[in-house]
């Protein structure tokens, strides 16, 4: 009970501090009052501290099973393993909002600490916008969805976490994807602050690039982890279902992917200034839109939280953010016109522009696929689109994007000449080689031929670039220290290529498992065998196991020397809810994926068996993308920032 008062008190204090920080920062920025800007920033840090206190209190309540709190009683129980009880922090609506607010407070504070010398107005307005966003979240946490609401009667035990969430994936996927969502607010705040302050130069890009890359990296990891979790838990043999919640996490990722490329055009050539502001704002607006979709329950999805009162609040917030962003861009439209000479079509900037348009095209396809049930429902008859719509509409755009990924890194800035055509031999050769090999192997599906061959071409371009770097390294005399210096000098470049390589691997895995998945439904008696795609499985028999919070009916299978144990789990404490536990034998070539469909009185069991080629390449590709982000982010060099003395009239706080 005491934890509830302390927690709600901390949230209320945080709300007061956030609102104070927002109002003071805007005023102090307008008045260019360095001392008050500092006070505004400190109020932001104090807000983050209050949210941290609230977070620690909620976690304490969960770990001490304080069922006087409604949130603890609804999302945990005495039998759930302790790690999952801790993870219930973000397992429900209120807790996940608190987690999101906490991440925004921490990352926002880090970004403000790192931006101490970017100019008075830019510093003040960015703090003001972040504090305003925090204020909104804290208003929701205090008034509508408090994790510290107290039950009138304290129950002896809680209801427990949803069985689907009782998995190791719960410990990594939600915190990463929620942190990704929260982190998009930081580039948005700095972009909007730059517009408010009338600073349309590349300084804000140089400052926020790291945070944009962090947001992109977190979202990449969140998406891949989500695919991995869906694949291991849901038991339908796939990992991506074009579910609205997957879509709304994918769209900000696409917008930020576009921004990470187009921002280079502004840094190098001074072009696309308005476009870059627009992309960063779009990414954040898509996050707010996604949050509204997920948390209001207006679109049917497997992920949505229970329908709650916070939908209208997020709808209002989305409206305010949209009006603010569009109004700001319109207000500064005159300053955002580029004075640089137009770029020729065949140039790096031309490739980035085309890539941006294709990514926007994918966003449009995904957006309308997600919104169709809502819009058609309003018009009378609700319609839902399936994976076929996305594959047909976005497939050609993805193919063109892969082709650009293969050719684009080899195209020089400003203009292309004969060396370009020579270097293009490598990706073109890889493409032609795999295309011919697949045709000879009898593959006739155009999407499969293009997807796999283009992914190999992307990988060939990366290998070619790394080979060129290795050549330079050998000419310079070789040695480990020189190799490290070479990589670190161009880490942004090599980090990006590593991410490209990871994406190529991921696409190879996606394409192979999508086009060549094999599936078989069988019912077997103990000792009987089944063969799927060359893999022979033998059914051993069924047994019952009692575990701490559930019982399992395990139907053991053997595959070579390996034992696979697909099972059905039943949670007696949750009204007998049952859940399938998939058994997967993974190798770099293919996964054998066994789902127990049911058991019969004669000892026989029914299975659905999938053989999914190259699925492990998806997870490996995801890990390589993250390595690329880490390398690209290691010790960032500032680009396009004028010397501090030239930009800052007086250091913040010196007045």
């Amino acid at each position: 009970m005491i934890l509830a008062f302390l927690g709600s008190g901390a949230l209320l204090a945080g709300l007061v501090l956030a609102a104070f920080s927002a109002l003071l920062s805007f005023w102090a920025g307008y008045a260019e009052n360095g001392v008050m800007i500092q006070v505004g920033r400190r109020a932001f840090y104090a807000t983050a501290a209050m949210i941290l206190v609230a977070g620690v209190l909620l976690e304490t309540a969960l770990l001490t099973h304080d069922f006087s709190l409604a949130y603890v009683a609804e999302h945990s129980d005495l039998s759930t393993p302790i790690a999952l009880v801790a993870a219930a922090f973000y397992g429900g609506q209120e807790g996940s909002l608190l987690y999101w607010t906490l991440i925004l407070g921490i990352l926002g504070s880090a970004s403000l600490l790192a931006s101490a010398r970017i100019g008075l107005r830019l510093a003040a307005y960015s703090a003001g916008i972040m504090a305003a966003i925090l204020t909104f979240f804290l208003v929701v946490l205090v008034l509508v969805a408090s994790p510290f609401d107290v039950l009138q009667i304290t129950p002896p035990d809680g209801l427990g976490l949803n069985p689907v969430l009782r998995d190791g994936g719960m410990l990594i996927h939600p915190p990463v994807v929620l942190a990704g969502f929260a982190s998009f607010a930081i580039p948005f705040s700095f972009a909007a602050a730059a517009l408010l302050a009338g600073r349309s130069d590349a300084a804000w890009i140089a400052h926020t690039r790291r945070f944009a890359l962090v947001a992109w990296g977190l979202q990449s990891a969140g998406l891949v982890l989500g695919m991995w979790w869906a694949y291991h838990v849901l038991g339908w043999g796939g990992y991506w279902g074009w579910d609205p919640v997957e879509n709304v996490a994918f769209m900000p990722w696409l917008a930020t992917t576009a921004y990470l490329h187009s921002s280079q055009v502004q840094e190098r050539r001074g072009r696309l200034r308005g476009w870059n502001f627009g992309l960063v704002m779009l990414a954040f607006l898509l996050v707010v839109f996604g949050t509204f979709i997920v948390r209001s329950g207006i679109v049917p999805s497997v992920h949505t939280f229970a329908v709650s009162a916070i939908g209208p609040w997020f709808f209002g917030f989305l409206g305010v953010c949209l009006l603010f962003s569009v109004g700001l861009l319109a207000f500064r439209a005159g300053d955002l016109k580029s004075h640089a000479e137009p770029a020729p079509a065949v140039s790096r900037e031309g490739a980035f522009t085309l890539q941006n348009l294709l990514l926007i095209g994918v966003i449009v396809v995904v957006f309308w696929g997600t919104m169709l049930p809502l819009v058609s429902g309003m018009l009378g008859q609700q319609r839902v689109v399936g994976p076929t719509y996305y594959e047909r509409a976005a497939g050609p755009l993805f193919a063109a994007l892969l082709a650009l990924m293969a050719a684009g890194p080899l195209v020089p800035w400003r203009h292309a000449g004969a060396p370009l055509w020579r270097s293009l031999r490598w990706p073109a050769g890889a493409f032609a080689f795999l295309l011919a090999a697949l045709l000879v192997a009898g593959v006739r599906s155009l999407p499969a031929l293009l997807g796999l061959s283009l992914a190999l071409a992307v990988a060939a371009t990366v290998v070619y670039e790394y080979a060129r770097a290795a050549g330079r390294w050998r000419l310079a005399g070789g040695g480990w220290s020189r190799a490290l210096a070479l990589v670190m000098r161009r880490r942004r470049h090599y980090g990006a290529y590593l991410a490209h390589l990871g994406l190529a691997m991921l696409v190879l895995g996606l394409a192979a498992s999508h086009f060549w998945q094999q599936e078989k439904d069988v019912t077997l008696l103990p000792g009987e065998q089944v063969a799927v795609a060359g893999y022979t499985l033998t059914y051993a028999g069924v047994q019952n196991r009692e575990l701490a919070d559930h019982s399992e009916l395990v139907a053991a299978m053997s595959l070579g020397g390996q034992s696979l144990e697909p099972a059905r789990a039943t949670y007696a404490g949750l009204g007998g809810q049952s859940l399938t536990h998939v058994a997967i034998s993974s190798s770099p070539i293919a996964d054998v994926y066994v789902v127990l469909a049911g058991t019969n009185g004669d000892g026989s069991a029914s299975f659905r068996i999938f053989v999914n080629p190259l699925v492990s390449w998806i997870w490996a590709g995801g890990a390589i993308i993250i390595l690329g982000v880490l390398l690209g982010n290691a010790g960032e060099r500032r680009v396009g920032v004028a010397p501090v003395a030239a930009r800052v009239r007086s250091p913040v706080g010196a007045s």
Partner: protein
């Protein structure tokens, strides 16, 4: 009770938040922007 806790927390946060207004100019020169 919630209001009392919030007030106490704000009271304790006060010196940290308002420090730029409290300190003397000499003390603050090193702290630009923090």
């Amino acid at each position: 009770m919630t209001l009392v806790v919030a007030t106490l927390l704000l009271f304790f946060a006060g010196p940290f938040v308002l420090w730029p207004l409290i300190r003397t100019p000499d003390e603050g020169e090193d702290e630009a922007g923090r």
